[in-house]
């Protein structure tokens, strides 16, 4: 009777070839079921249950299982429940049977009765709890109860109190969290669906013993039941009936006095969930005690969660009392007043008494006021006046106190909006009168006068207050609102950073919050923004004021409506202004706004309003030799703006932009319909004023999608022109870096995104460049430098696209160049492997739509590593660093897993690099060491001592007392650059925090601590701080207890 035969039998049942009764009547089955051997019976039962539950009880769910058969089976199972050995299997079968839609009321009742009478869960659990079968059946038994007590099951209601009593006995003393969880669910269903008038005390008794839950799941618990799950379910039961109120309050209050924070938290959360259900009347006589305990908890709690739970509980109590009071319960009204009197009394004393943390009482007042309109009304009428009095006596009150009083008043105004409407709400007559209306003038005056306070905190508190006043319904007159906005404008330009930050954030809220008042939005857009822009354009304004105005404009542009106003205005400054400062700031602002809010660009007429005018400005100003276009940083900023826009566009729109820019800068042809006068563009040239525009040119080319083409331009000719221009110009004079890099990036991008045929035609150019470099005798000539950079960029572009043997051969030829005395190739080797070789400008990256071959980096690394290692070991000492530097650049950008695979070969090289006196090499290798130490310290574990030694060499602390500039025994110069020292110290600081064996680390401790002493007195602050940090970490290396 194995699983397979059970499955076969179930299959036959389903297709109707066998009936269940004939199955039972077969000789072995009927004999086994009636056998005197309990284990024989259990086996037969197990088989039958498996048949029934096969395929998620498919047969029972189908219409093939008729009512009578199911009834017979139910009765059979119910009658057998006394058979202890078979119980597990019986429950398994019952569970399957209950899935049938045709279970009759009578069978359900008799099953429930049988379960409560025959099946003594407790004894059963005690007998066989240790076995897995017992656990399964125990869980099933609870699930069966669950199925039986589902809502709508009229049969169980018929059993009524008997069912409840039976179930309570069954769950009594239950300890298994899975069963408890299900039991809580059942209890909740019982409370919801049964009449529990007679049984509520018993039910309460059975659940309250679990309160508060202190369950801690065992490690690796497969069921994943957490203490939070249990808490939530238990709380649901507590909050399921108002009948529990009188029973629950004493227990909850007792738990609130507990010493365990966990119990207190659970009690407070339960109070929040139950207060409204139990109703104000039941809270009645506990009001004073509740206030005392919750008040104390909200003042003293160590964590914010605890404090917030206390405040929420208070709020719920006030809500419950208010609701009961509203239904004309006089006692509740008295109790509400009593509770609120406590709040007012404490607020009045605490907010004046400076020794207590007033923030806490402010929170309490706010929690109570937020609960309901009556509570708000009471507190507003009893407190606001005295708070205003305190605020008026500002000189007699401390700054902290003053802030809290203003904050409290602000809270009142803010809360009043939810009860009496805000400035955006329609006029509704039914809304009650806001009690704060009586204090309208006073409130405005207090906030207005406090705004000019010397204390920045008071000014900020008043600003928040004014903001709330401006948003409360019918509070400020038109004149007062005007004053409010004017003040915000003035402060956004003139105040110090902290206040300005608040003012600007309030302005942002005015325009962009979801519930923004349309009048306010209008005022900001039509009045404030133009005035801010005027302030930006002030010719003789102080630098600080102008920057503040720009900063406010930039922050406000995060809103789409403002964006649409600000961007054209800034472009207009670019076009029209002769004020260099204004143009410079406008460019910076445009860069920040457009790169931070790229999503708005698509809805903005970017081509006509941005691309064309900005290019026109750049060309005009460059040709005229304007200061702005002399400065690479500004032109580059605009290049970044173009790049950000390009990345968002689809291929066709990109083509349009590229058409304009490439024609203007490559051919000197203006293709926009609006003519470019009076100056006509000329092609970009290294010597002309236009050279910096190369960044704009490359920004556009580099961010084109792979399927976007250059209209009317032959890419082959363009690439040739760009490479030739660079080489030609380098023979005459030094080519500026910006110009060279930009053109190289453009060439590389075109190569990367074009097809294989195009790339093959470039091979000849590659050969020409290699010849040029190899034949160039003087390494310091500019042609050599330019040709090397072009080679690196173009090789990168093609290797990245398809790392074939032919392409990798080009890399080998580049490696050959490392044997020259100069270090240009080595220093720029990162161009071959870096994820983003242009450092943030999006060239040959995924974001710039570059094509990448599968595992290209791994292939590159695998190709280069043996060559570089071999050349390094055979090289003369003067050029060894070149190989190390090239290798370190590769390692920096390769996945750590690949480095770890080769770590044994690499460690001697890393150590050699750290011992070198080449700062660039030191830095790159230190970065690699830092990552290795952080991510896989075990790889360096065996060489820890050597690493510690070279790192200490680098910080100048190899021997205690050695002076910093001394040359140590191994020839390492101890005074490395400050960056190297800082990074070395960082690495040294990571070591004690790694998970390397304590004994390996501990032996190093005295030496490192001694060695770091020298760095503590370094001439650079950053080094000293890092040294202090590293030393403190080593001191704390104490091992596990």
């Amino acid at each position: 009777m194995d699983t397979e035969s059970a499955h076969n039998a179930a299959e036959q049942l389903r297709n109707g070839s066998v009936s269940v009764l004939s199955l039972l009547a077969t000789a072995p089955m009927s004999e086994a079921l009636a056998s005197s051997d309990p284990f024989e019976r259990a086996r037969a039962t197990a088989f039958l249950s498996s048949v029934l539950s096969d395929g998620d009880a498919a047969w029972l769910r189908s219409d093939k299982a008729d009512k009578n058969t199911v009834s017979v089976l139910m009765d059979f199972y119910s009658s057998r429940l006394h058979d202890q050995t078979s119980v597990a299997d019986l429950l398994h079968g019952i569970l399957a049977l209950l899935a049938s839609p045709v279970v009759t009321r009578n069978s359900a009742i008799s099953l429930a009765r049988a379960m409560f009478s025959e099946l003594n869960n407790q004894n059963f659990a005690q007998n066989v709890i240790v076995t897995a079968a017992a656990r399964l059946s125990d869980a099933s038994s609870c699930r069966i109860h669950d199925l039986l007590s589902r809502p709508g099951n009229a049969a169980m209601k018929y059993l009524g109190d008997n069912f409840i009593a039976g179930f309570l006995v069954a769950m009594d003393g239950e300890k298994d969290p899975r069963n408890i969880l299900i039991s809580f669910g059942i209890i909740h269903t019982i409370i919801q669906n049964f009449n529990i008038d007679k049984k509520f005390e018993d039910i309460f008794e059975s659940i309250y013993c679990y309160f508060p839950i202190t369950f801690r799941p065992p490690p690796n618990d497969p069921y994943g039941i957490t203490s939070a799950d249990l808490k939530v379910q238990l709380r649901r039961c507590f909050a399921a009936s108002p009948l529990f109120g009188p029973l629950a309050w004493p227990i909850l209050l007792e738990k609130l006095t507990s010493t365990s924070d966990n119990a207190k938290l659970d009690a407070m959360e339960t109070i929040s969930a139950c207060a409204a259900v139990y109703g104000g009347d039941s809270i009645g006589r506990h009001v004073e005690q509740l206030w005392e305990l919750l008040h104390e908890e909200s003042l003293d709690s160590k964590t914010a969660t605890q404090r917030d739970a206390a405040l929420k509980a208070m709020r719920c109590i006030v809500y419950a009392l208010s609701t009961s009071a509203a239904t004309a319960s006089t006692s509740s009204r008295d109790h509400l007043t009593q509770f609120l009197t406590f709040v007012t009394k404490h607020a009045q004393t605490d907010l004046v008494d400076a020794t207590l943390p007033q923030e806490a009482i402010r929170r309490i007042v706010n929690a109570a006021a937020k609960a309901t309109e009556p509570s708000f009304y009471y507190l507003a009428t009893h407190l606001v006046k005295s708070l205003l009095d305190v605020a008026k006596r500002s000189s007699a009150v401390s700054v902290e106190n003053q802030c809290e009083v203003l904050g409290c008043l602000t809270d009142f105004v803010a809360t009043s909006k939810s009860f009496y409407g805000s400035s955006v709400d329609m006029d509704i007559d039914s809304l009650p009168q806001n009690p704060l209306t009586a204090f309208k003038a006073d409130l405005f005056q207090i906030f207005q006068t406090s705004l000019s306070s010397k204390s920045e905190r008071i000014a900020i508190a008043s600003l928040n207050g004014l903001f709330e006043l401006a948003h409360a319904k019918e509070f400020l007159s038109t004149l007062e609102l005007e004053w409010y906005f004017e003040t915000l404008l003035g402060m956004s330009i003139n105040e110090n950073a902290a206040v300005r930050g608040v003012v600007v954030s309030l302005l942002v809220k005015e325009v962009s919050s979801e519930a923004a008042d349309s009048n306010h939005v209008q005022t900001v857009i039509s009045t404030i923004i133009p005035q801010l822009l005027d302030a930006c354009a002030l010719k003789d304004g102080a630098e600080d004021v102008i920057l503040n105005a720009f900063e406010a404009v930039v922050e406000l542009s995060a809103d789409k409506k403002v964006f649409g106003t600000v961007v054209p205005a800034l472009i207009k400054f670019l076009e029209e202004s002769n004020d260099a400062r204004l143009v410079r700031h406008s460019i910076s602002a445009l860069r920040i706004i457009l790169t931070e809010q790229p999503d708005y660009i698509s809805e903005f007429s970017y081509y006509e309003s941005l691309i064309v005018p900005v290019l026109r400005v750049l060309l005009t100003r460059s040709i005229a030799g304007s200061y702005i276009c002399e400065n690479g940083a500004y032109v580059e900023s605009l290049g970044q703006v173009y790049a950000a826009i390009m990345r968002l566009l689809d291929s066709r729109s990109q083509e349009k932009v590229a058409h304009l820019v490439v024609n203007a800068l490559y051919r000197g042809k203006w293709v926009d319909s609006r003519p470019m006068e009076p100056i006509s563009p000329v092609p970009i040239d290294a010597r002309s004023n236009l050279r910096l525009l190369a960044t704009v040119f490359s920004s556009v080319i580099c961010n084109m999608r792979t399927d976007a083409v250059l209209l009317d331009v032959d890419p082959r000719a363009l690439v040739n022109f760009l490479v030739q221009t660079l080489i030609d110009q380098s023979s005459a004079s030094r080519v500026p870096d910006v110009y060279m890099n930009s053109l190289c990036q453009a060439v590389a991008s075109i190569l990367n995104k074009s097809d294989a045929k195009f790339v093959s035609t470039f091979t000849a150019d590659h050969e020409y460049l290699f010849k040029l470099v190899e034949n160039e005798s003087a390494s310091n000539s500019d042609t050599y430098r330019v040709a090397v950079i072009v080679l690196l960029w173009t090789t990168r572009a093609t290797v990245m696209k398809s790392p074939t043997a032919a392409e990798l051969q080009k890399v080998s030829r580049i490696v050959d160049l490392l044997q020259r005395q100069d270090s240009i190739v080595a220093s720029k080797f990162y161009l071959l492997a870096a994820d983003d070789p242009s450092f943030g400008k999006h060239v040959l990256t995924k974001t710039a739509f570059a094509k990448t071959g599968l595992l290209w980096k791994q292939k590159l690394f695998k190709h280069c590593l043996p060559v570089l290692v071999e050349r390094f070991s055979g090289a003369h000492s003067s050029i060894r660093n070149n190989y190390l530097l090239a290798l370190s650049h590769l390692m920096k950008y390769i996945a750590k897993s690949i480095i770890l695979y080769e770590i044994q070969t690499l460690i001697p090289l890393l150590l050699a690099g750290l011992s070198s006196d080449n700062a660039e090499l030191n830095l790159t290798i230190l970065e690699i060491t830092e990552t290795l130490l952080k991510e896989s310290p075990a790889a360096l574990g065996a060489h820890l001592e050597s690493f510690t030694t070279v790192l200490l060499h680098l910080v100048g602390g190899i021997e205690a007392g050695a002076s910093k500039s001394s040359v140590t025994s191994s020839g390492v110069k101890a005074s490395a650059s400050a960056d190297v020292r800082v990074l070395s110290l960082k690495c040294l600081g990571i070591i004690p925090k790694t998970e390397l064996p304590f004994n390996e680390l501990y032996v190093l401790k005295p030496r490192v601590i001694r060695g770091l002493q020298v760095a503590l007195d370094d001439e650079k602050k950053s080094v000293r701080k890092e040294a202090g940090n590293a030393r403190a970490k080593w001191y704390l290396l104490l091992g596990k207890k």
Binding site: G501, R584, I592, E1019, S1022, R1024, K1025, G1028, A1032, L1036
Partner: protein, 177 residues
């Protein structure tokens, strides 16, 4: 054991040394990008240890009683630190939260140990309780500035453990400012 000061006043701590948002500073930096020469000038300069640097070492030490730093409790304040390069002396004055604070010596010891670990040995460091803020001001000061007593305290393994616990919170924050 009950706490000495159950409910200490907690002070807000500025976001960074300049009290400005990072964004704001970024903006200013981009404005000054053409003044890059200043960068190279500072490279060559020697930066002497100042009070701010000493404060950075101790501001994040944890109070032995609360999960709050000495800075948040105003036990340690920048204005109470002086550095005298001529005589190689540093003076740190700290303010216990209440006059009968039994933890004053322990707090002082934590400051002493942290500075021993993180300052160059050439400085003589004086650590004192702010005048008039503690009942046994003299005896606390005497203990804290007595080398022998400090050394003896550091031989008490229990005390070392408590001190290390208080200092553990400074890790990786020293260089963060």
């Amino acid at each position: 054991m009950g706490l000495d000061n159950v409910n200490p006043t907690v002070y807000s701590v500025p976001k960074d040394a300049y009290g400005q948002s990072a964004r704001s500073r970024l903006w200013r930096m981009s404005q000054n990008s053409d003044l890059s020469d200043t960068e190279t000038e500072t490279q060559a300069q020697t930066e002497a240890i100042d009070a701010g640097e000493v404060f950075d070492l101790i501001r994040n030490i944890n109070d032995p009683e609360h999960p709050l730093t000495l800075e948040q409790l105003h036990v340690a304040q920048l204005r109470h630190i002086t550095v005298d390069h001529e005589n190689s002396r540093i003076s740190v004055v700290f303010t216990p939260t209440i006059p009968h604070c039994s933890m004053a010596t322990l707090i002082g010891l934590c400051i002493r140990v942290q500075l021993l670990r993180c300052l160059p040995a050439r400085f003589k460091v004086d650590i004192n309780v702010e005048e008039g803020t503690h009942q046994s001001e003299k005896s606390v000061n005497k203990q804290l500035n007595d080398k022998e007593r400090v050394a003896a305290a550091m031989e008490n393994s229990h005390l070392v453990e408590v001190v290390n616990q208080c200092l553990a919170t400074t890790i990786d924050k020293i260089a963060a400012y």
